[in-house]
């Protein structure tokens, strides 16, 4: 086996392309995690964002409006999650799982009943305008493009890290998760900060969805997040909710995915499709084992 067929520039680019989905969703998830909520529902928020982006981009004829629609959809879902979990104190896991099922059902329903299409969105007239991209010329005979969302996601990692660890707002957000009562006695409303977490989660997941349907692929397909939202949650756990570590975990996921795709000549593609999921679970096992060993060493 020739290793250069797996470790080459193409794989690197694929790594970044795939990781961006998980980076953006992971940032969203960690904003809620830092505020003390475990959001399993980001998969659904991504699906909603992807749908709104594709349909908005087609309806208004511009990718900018598609992006706005995706952000709006994310915001609505984030607000809904916030109201259910913060205001009505519902079980986070039930709401999250139900939210994911709801989002897939709603988008599929609208696609089939209103837009009269099934499987994926291919409008009869007009087109889905995708996000702008940078052309990196040709590598190995194929044109290589990188969506603007890829570098933007890195920028957002830095922004989130600075916001969480270098600004008062970030400090309050983290306090709302760890010591809500201390925050309250310091004169800040922890519930308000939790809402900030839920809403920014919605925005970031909407962005991730927009990248999914307007950057990574060029239209919406049913159930298109393909459980990557759950992978993002796993990355947040693995990266202990720190933006930079979550970013690295997402890159690792992206690499496993990209390397799996490269191995399709050697292994059946249906089998390589399982690699990123197996990799994610192994990542979590590895982290848990290490934490347990540390605890034992301390004791």
């Amino acid at each position: 086996m020739d290793l250069s067929s797996i470790f080459n520039v193409g794989t690197l680019l694929n790594t970044f392309n795939t990781a961006t989905i998980v980076i953006l969703a992971g940032l969203g998830c960690l904003m809620t995690a830092q505020a003390g909520m475990m959001n399993i529902g980001i998969d659904g928020m991504m699906t909603a964002g992807a749908f709104a982006a594709a349909v908005g981009s087609w309806y208004f004829g511009s990718w900018g409006m598609g992006l706005v629609c995706a952000l709006l959809a994310g915001l609505i879902f984030g607000l809904f999650y916030g109201v259910m979990v913060i205001r009505y104190k519902s079980d986070e896991f039930i709401i999250g799982v139900a939210l994911n099922i709801f989002a897939v059902a709603l988008t599929t329903f609208i696609l089939r009943t209103v837009l009269k299409q099934s499987g994926s969105f291919h409008p009869a007239s007009g087109a889905v305008n995708t996000l702008p991209y940078f052309s990196l010329g040709e590598i190995g005979g194929t044109a290589v493009n990188i969506s603007v969302m890829v570098p933007l996601s890195w920028l957002l990692v830095a922004l989130c890290a600075v916001m969480l660890y270098r600004t008062p707002a970030g400090f309050w957000l983290r306090a709302a998760g760890e010591h809500p009562d201390s925050l309250r006695s310091a004169g800040r409303n922890p519930e308000k900060m939790k809402y900030v977490g839920a809403l920014s989660c919605g925005l970031l997941c909407g962005l991730s969805g927009a990248y999914l349907s307007l950057g990574y692929l060029s239209t919406f397909t049913e159930n298109m997040s393909a459980e990557r939202g759950y992978v993002a949650v796993a990355c947040v756990i693995f990266g202990r909710s720190h933006p930079v570590f979550v970013f690295l975990a997402a890159l690792l996921f992206g690499f496993i995915d990209a390397a799996g795709m490269r191995m399709q000549g050697l292994v059946d593609p249906t089998l390589t499709a399982t690699f990123p999921y197996v990799g994610t679970i192994l990542m979590m096992v590895f982290l848990a084992l290490r934490q347990q060993a540390k605890k034992k060493a301390k004791a």
Partner: protein, 353 residues
Amino acid sequence: MNRERRKYFLSLAVSILLGLLIGALIMLATGHSPLEGYGALLSGAFGSRRGWGNTLYKTFQLCITGLATAIASSAGIFNVGGEGQMYLGALASSYLGARLAGVSPWIALPVCFLAAILSGALYAWIPAVLKVKLKINEVITTILMNSIAIFFCSYMANGPLKTLERGVNSGTDAIDKAFRFTRLIPGSNLSETVFYIAAISLFVWYLMSRTATGYEMRLTGQNERFSRFIGLKAGALGIGGMLISGAMCGALGMFECFALQNRFKPDFSSEFYFDGMLVAMIMRYKPLGIILMSFFFGALKMGAISMQSSTGISSELILIIQSVIIFLMAAEEGFLRRLQERRLHRQSIVKEG
């Protein structure tokens, strides 16, 4: 009936009615008549012998998947991975069902059944152990393991185990005719398997609500530290719940293939497990409630399929209605508490004034 239970039934009824109302509003918003839509749904579910048969089969299917969710959840582990466990059970039993051709059904069928429940249980054991020993969140592992199992099984059915039979695009060799279950209503999905499903469901209901083990499981699910404190083996109870849950899903996988598909096909299920999981979530994992409400949701589900073909309203509407019901039920307690707080607040103002 005590007060707690009456309150629960009331909120369930209100949630379901609101869910159906929202469904009607969605139909109106998309330019369809709700009367026509729900009418098509009802006539699809009960309008013919075939419709009745399909509705009844769906009821049993929801029963076994709902109880599978419930037994694991009652012991504190949320099994979202039943779909994968079902796929593995289906593949293992169908493979044996083809390989054991010619053997007496009295030997072959139990062997196939054992293979189905063992592969389902084993696949559920992995996330259960990860949860109990390493505290790894089971929702994430089980859902990712669904994708792994489905990809793996379709790889097997299109690759190493693909049948050479003509006209079969993807699937394993046909299961021996002697092993197949006969249909009770020709043309519908209702087959002999419902007796086995009923037996399994009764067993699980009995285990959950009439035995000490079931009670201990519930204690563990409600408060793990407390159950450890009083000397229960919390970990073993959780893993046990998951093993039974996985075994049930594996068994359903076998029933689907042995009664309806006649071989393992990668598309034999359209997220059957999630349908049952939703019912279990709506009924808050109460076994009797799941058994009773399976009929209602089974009729909704099967009726929706003919509603889709006759009116063009996508059957996904039912999933929307179900998730809305779950949202309402989940928020109900918090919502009522806030109402009460507000009432008390107002009363205190009146008194002071």
